[in-house]
């Protein structure tokens, strides 16, 4: 029985959490000997035109994984955008508008037809839930569908069409207990449908902190942020809080930002904020090694690979307490602190900057948590078990 990941776009350097997850998981499962392939569209990525075929259709190979690309159909972008706007702003949509959403979403009739034709040859793993490739694909292979939803508490998850979708999959692969709790609160699920898997984390890298400091001319304690620098990641809050902290406590540490995207506010080195932009992968690992603390202020994380990587490097973390996923990781691992509001941010940062023994203990706890739960061999074994169950039934 072959395994096919179905995703709206696929490529070696497409940004995004779900996109990176499907790429890494497919590659690791393939390396572990599973017959994994990817079915996707010719669309380039999330930010491109979903009605435009960027890639050539057909079969190619990306990092050892066979990738089947199918052309997208015509879509009414204006109609989709009108409904999507309502969903993004939490407004109710009618059943007719839900139909517009799924029909004018990114999807490929040829991809859907391929799934239906080869229904009995594959176990299909769809990721994430809110795109047309998933909605129409699950419909075409009911009984053979596994879904990695990347679920958040959002308007899309409450659409009737997606409620029905969740009831039609054989297994739900979830990243965290918080996501599992959300799924159970939204949908009636049989006991054996949801499975807590998490994500695989690379644990074999070296994190050369001194090398990072030399290369970027950094000295003294570092509060590190790693990831996209936009409002969706709450980076503006981190900058505000850091500025206030520096005003109240003095120049006790620099805030160093690495990652792509445009900052929502202007910053400067004079105020202790260094925006290094997108850095090479090894520099990212070295940054974890140099960090006094990694701060993840995002409110919408499915798993937070950055947290895990920082822990592998032994860095303690500071997360936003209103993000159930990252807060849960900190509590389960005893590897980090969390804040809701500035007063807690200040108190946590004071502790982390003043107590090296506490930092070392938190970092060591986090590292142990990752090695015990999210090493690739552990995650691959979880996938094997799920695939055996679905294929064998």
């Amino acid at each position: 029985m072959r395994v096919a990941f179905v995703t709206p776009w696929y490529g070696p350097d497409i940004p995004g959490g779900a996109e990176a997850e499907v790429r890494r998981t497919a590659e690791h499962l393939r390396r572990a000997g599973l017959p994994v392939e990817v079915l996707t569209t010719c669309v380039r990525d999330f930010r491109s035109d979903w009605g435009r075929n960027h890639h050539r259709s057909g079969v190619s190979e990306v990092n050892g994984v066979p990738v089947h690309r199918f052309p997208v159909g015509r879509r009414d972008r204006a109609a989709f955008d009108a409904v999507n706007w309502k969903l993004m702003h939490g407004l109710p949509v009618t059943p007719a508008e839900e139909q517009v959403y799924v029909r004018q979403n990114v999807h490929s009739p040829k991809l859907t037809a391929y799934i239906a034709r080869h229904r009995d040859e594959f176990v299909y793993i769809f990721i994430p839930y809110m795109f047309g490739t998933t909605y129409w694909g699950v419909d075409a292979c009911e009984g053979k569908a596994i879904l990695i939803p990347c679920l958040h508490d959002e308007a899309y998850a409450r659409m009737d069409l997606f409620r029905q979708l969740f009831s039609r999959v054989r297994r739900l692969i979830l990243h965290s207990p918080a996501e599992l709790e959300l799924a159970r609160s939204l949908y009636p699920l049989a006991d054996d449908v949801p499975v807590l898997v998490g994500e695989g984390v690379d644990t074999e890298f070296t994190a050369d902190g001194p090398a990072f400091r030399r290369k970027y001319g950094l000295d003294g304690p570092i509060i590190l942020y790693a990831g996209r620098k936009d409002k969706g990641k709450n980076v503006d809050l981190l900058i505000d809080y850091y500025r206030l902290y520096r005003q109240r406590r003095g120049a006790r540490a620099e805030l160093v930002l690495i990652g792509g995207g445009e900052l929502p506010v202007a910053v400067s080195a004079a105020e202790g904020i260094r925006d290094l932009g997108f850095v090479p992968v090894q520099d990212k690992y070295d940054a974890y090694g140099a960090a006094t603390v990694l701060c993840q202020p995002s409110l919408r994380e499915s798993f937070s690979l950055v947290l895990m990587e920082a822990w592998v490097a032994g860095a303690p973390v500071l997360v936003h307490g209103d993000c159930a996923v990252t807060r849960e990781h900190c509590v389960r691992s005893n590897g980090g602190l969390y804040f809701t509001g500035y007063a807690e941010f200040e108190a946590c940062l004071d502790l982390l900057l003043e107590r090296p023994a506490l930092r070392a203990t938190l970092g060591a706890n986090g590292r142990r948590y990752v090695l015990e739960n999210y090493r690739w061999d552990i995650v691959v074994d979880r996938y094997r078990a799920i695939l055996d169950q679905v294929a064998g039934a």
Partner: protein, 155 residues
């Protein structure tokens, strides 16, 4: 500056316990600032009361931040099973400390209000003393009591 946190940093750290102490510490500072009895200052008018009264009150305030039970364990010297014994002892002690600190929370709150009551009493007596003597209110030198964590640049 963060010595109000009472934990064994090199042992089994409990993040929820740390967060609980952080919240309690913030709540104490907030009450002190918001309800008019700012802990950080107390008029030190000279005359009516001895310096000892003010010094003891300041010390009580400082100690109130440090009453939480901390883990204190000496490593076992038993060969072979020593580490396992240490781990078991640490767990047992941690459980006791969890419950003890819940009681301590309530004691800290009580202490807090008692100290505030004494402070208010002192202020009233000072004020009455000055008014009764018919003298214009003296501008006493206000000195901070205990820590002032809000000073920029202090580590």
């Amino acid at each position: 500056m963060s010595d109000w946190l009472q934990i064994d940093e090199e042992g089994e750290v409990d993040v929820e316990e740390i967060m609980r102490q952080i919240k309690a510490h913030i709540a104490q500072r907030k009450v002190a600032r918001e309800e008019g009895g700012d802990w950080s200052t107390l008029p030190r008018l000279e005359g009516r009361f001895s310096r000892a009264v003010y010094d003891e009150l300041a010390q009580a305030m400082r100690e109130n931040d440090r009453v939480y039970a901390a883990l204190l364990l000496t490593p076992s010297r038993l060969p072979v099973v020593g580490r396992m014994v240490d781990a078991l002892r640490r767990k047992a002690h941690g459980l006791v400390i969890f419950y003890v600190n819940q009681v301590v929370d309530r004691q800290v709150a009580f202490n807090h209000y008692i100290i505030r009551a004494f402070t208010a009493l002192l202020e009233d007596l000072e004020r009455d003393d000055v008014a009764g003597a018919g003298a214009p209110a003296r501008q006493g030198k206000e000195e901070p009591l205990g820590e002032e964590p809000d000073r920029p640049g202090e580590s």
